[in-house]
Symmetry: C2
Subunit: 146 residues, 2 copies
DNA sequence: GCTTCATGTAACTTCGTTTATTACGATTTA
DNA sequence: TAAATCGTAATAAACGAAGTTACATGAAGC
């Protein structure tokens, strides 16, 4: 089953933008995200709706981070993307009349809910600032090696 | 993103089979799982490979539970189905050269791994026997009400 | 104002995955 | 031998996500 990689993608984009003082165009972001500009605009548009980035048109326009890197967490990004469903497996029928189905769903739903809570909790603890620092640490180490 | 509901489906099937003393045909199971016989054979075939059910051909043939209900857990079923990937979201690129990508993946992977471990742990604690008992309790309550 | 660059967005196409269907072979029972 | 049932390959259909095209809107610079 194919995975939704938009969270990973926008993270990539945001970290690149964080290293940059000027706006980045959809075209530039598309290049570094291996996709095309329209998809970038669609996806980044969701972040803009959530107030995390701004966009400007015209020459010297593009996308800019609009929020404090310390304040934005992975969970914020997940929410901005519309809280896409986290699990690739799930119940066959969410509104069952069959009593067997009820028993099955009850067992599965509890487990999924707990796993989801754990994941969102972890997401809430990771800020963009931390990821950016993490990247810079790796970058420094990489330069030192070569 | 569409979810794989095979785990839920086979659970449904197995609980019905547990209420029954004779083999159930693919056709019967298909009816109660809202699908068709070939899909049932494909899916149940995986459980048979794992030794959880048996199939017999010819008249009076069909599918029978071959394992102890106390011993079979949701995790066993998940494994029998080929351990389909649990998450609907994930990294964009699993083998990245980009250092930004490395930092992003490291952050996401840890969280996903922990959530997966929690879920599988929960699965391992739920037996078919318990679900069957759960169903029978609901069933009794339902009959008492009417 | 005109041109250029960039986003905004609707419409459509393409692609990959999953499920359903068809068809037929193999096996078992009577 | 006839009927029932699974086994499985091959194909079709359905669906959603992503890519693409096309054009409108707005901003900057001359």
């Amino acid at each position: 089953m194919k995975r939704d990689s938009r969270l990973s993608s926008v993270l990539h984009a945001l970290l690149h933008m964080a290293e940059q003082n000027e706006p980045m165009t959809s075209e530039q972001l598309a290049a570094c995200m291996c996709t095309n500009p329209v998809v970038v605009r669609r996806t980044m548009g969701l972040l803009r709706d959530a107030g995390l980035v701004t966009s400007e048109r015209g020459p010297s326009g593009g996308w800019t981070i609009a929020a404090d890197l310390e304040a934005v967490t992975l969970r914020d990004l997940h929410e901005a993307l519309g809280e896409p469903s986290i699990f690739a497996i799930g119940n066959r029928n969410e509104n069952p009349g069959c009593l067997v189905e009820l028993a099955v769903n009850a067992a599965l739903d509890g487990a999924f809910a707990d796993a989801e809570a754990l994941l969102l909790d972890r997401f809430a603890k990771v800020t963009l600032a931390r990821l950016s620092a993490d990247f810079n640490r790796r970058h420094a180490a990489h330069r030192a090696r070569s």
